[in-house]
Subunit: 208 residues, 2 copies
């Protein structure tokens, strides 16, 4: 498959939302959906839906809308969600343990296939069905597992080094839960989620 | 304190980043910092730093920069981070349990003061130092604790009802980890974090 065009992150997020809309109960039994229907469910305008999809070709037919199954198939392929994606997790602390057990990932096609840590007290312990492995095994295991995504749940000080190890192991997509700024190696896509930052941004709107 | 001006979410996020920059080791011993210094550490232009701060008055002096301690004080007040904020968590499943134990929150001034669930098997169990309480006690406990922030880690189907219960209890700030669309009650600020969505967006850039 050819590489996807570079579009804004917000547009990628909307595509994922459209796919979710098309997979929800409300569309059961439908053969076609309109951009207005998708837009209303996703909280954006019909124009936005059409514009976002236009990056990838012509899908809909005027007056008929989109063939639901066809659009779902194309969106899943565009988002590379047409197969289960093995992911590796680095960091088996409190957040890492939760992510390893989080049922929302497998439900959406992401399977955490291995967990790594550097702490000898954690290496060898069980986390659900996985056994925590030493981070020195990372590169070999990524190749064995055919993993394509790395998830980082380590303290801030360890983060840069883990990003580099994941990149060296050949991973091109990293979800980072460690706070702080990261230098991203070329050809690697890093998304950072800073949970405390989300709370900080919420607090802005609290009454003083 | 007067309510904060409405500025884009991205600007609030940048303010939180500036505060983080001012609190990091690299500024130790400095009395002044420039917008160029803050910008470089935050990954934005000096102009952007000045523009973001200009919403809240005049802080810097040309040629001298910002008084570091003063700017840190003001930013903390603007972001309402000048005191510990008790938060309540609804949902004691795998993600909720991790959030309750996540050390990143107290480090950044947010204390999870109570955890609620609806499942009789979870109510009464211990989660770290907290005991899971029934969600029926939510409103009374929010008042007792002086909580200002709610965190939601429940399944999608339960989310809308929990948002409404938190709003009814008087909370104005909600961090929502449940996937799906939420109707937000007036006067309430909801930020949604969909962890699987983050992975979906990363997958877009993977080779087909």
């Amino acid at each position: 498959m050819s590489p996807n065009p570079v579009i804004p992150d917000t547009a990628v997020t909307r595509l994922a939302t459209y796919l979710r809309v098309l997979s929800e109960r409300q569309v059961e039994g439908r053969l076609h959906v309109s951009s207005a229907f998708i837009g209303a469910a996703a909280g954006v305008s019909p124009d936005q839906v059409r514009k976002d999809l236009s990056h990838f070709g012509e899908f809909g037919r005027p007056g008929v809308g989109y063939d639901l199954e066809q659009l779902r198939y194309h969106l899943a392929r565009i988002l590379r969600l047409d197969r289960v994606r093995p992911a590796v997790l680095v960091g088996a602390g409190s957040l890492g343990s939760a992510l390893a057990r989080y049922t929302g990932f497998p439900q959406r096609g992401f399977r955490i296939a291995a967990v790594f840590d550097i702490d000898p007290q954690r290496v060898g312990t069980k986390l659900g069905e996985l056994t925590v492995e030493h981070v020195d095994c990372l590169s070999r295991r990524v190749a064995e597992l055919g993993a394509s995504i790395g998830i980082i749940a380590v303290p801030r000080w360890a983060c840069q080094s883990v990003v580099e190890q994941l990149a060296a192991a050949g991973l091109q997509a990293i979800l980072n839960f460690a706070p702080g700024k990261v230098d991203v190696p070329e050809g690697v896509n890093v998304r950072s989620v800073d949970l405390a930052r989300e709370l900080e941004c919420l607090a802005y709107y609290l009454p003083g």
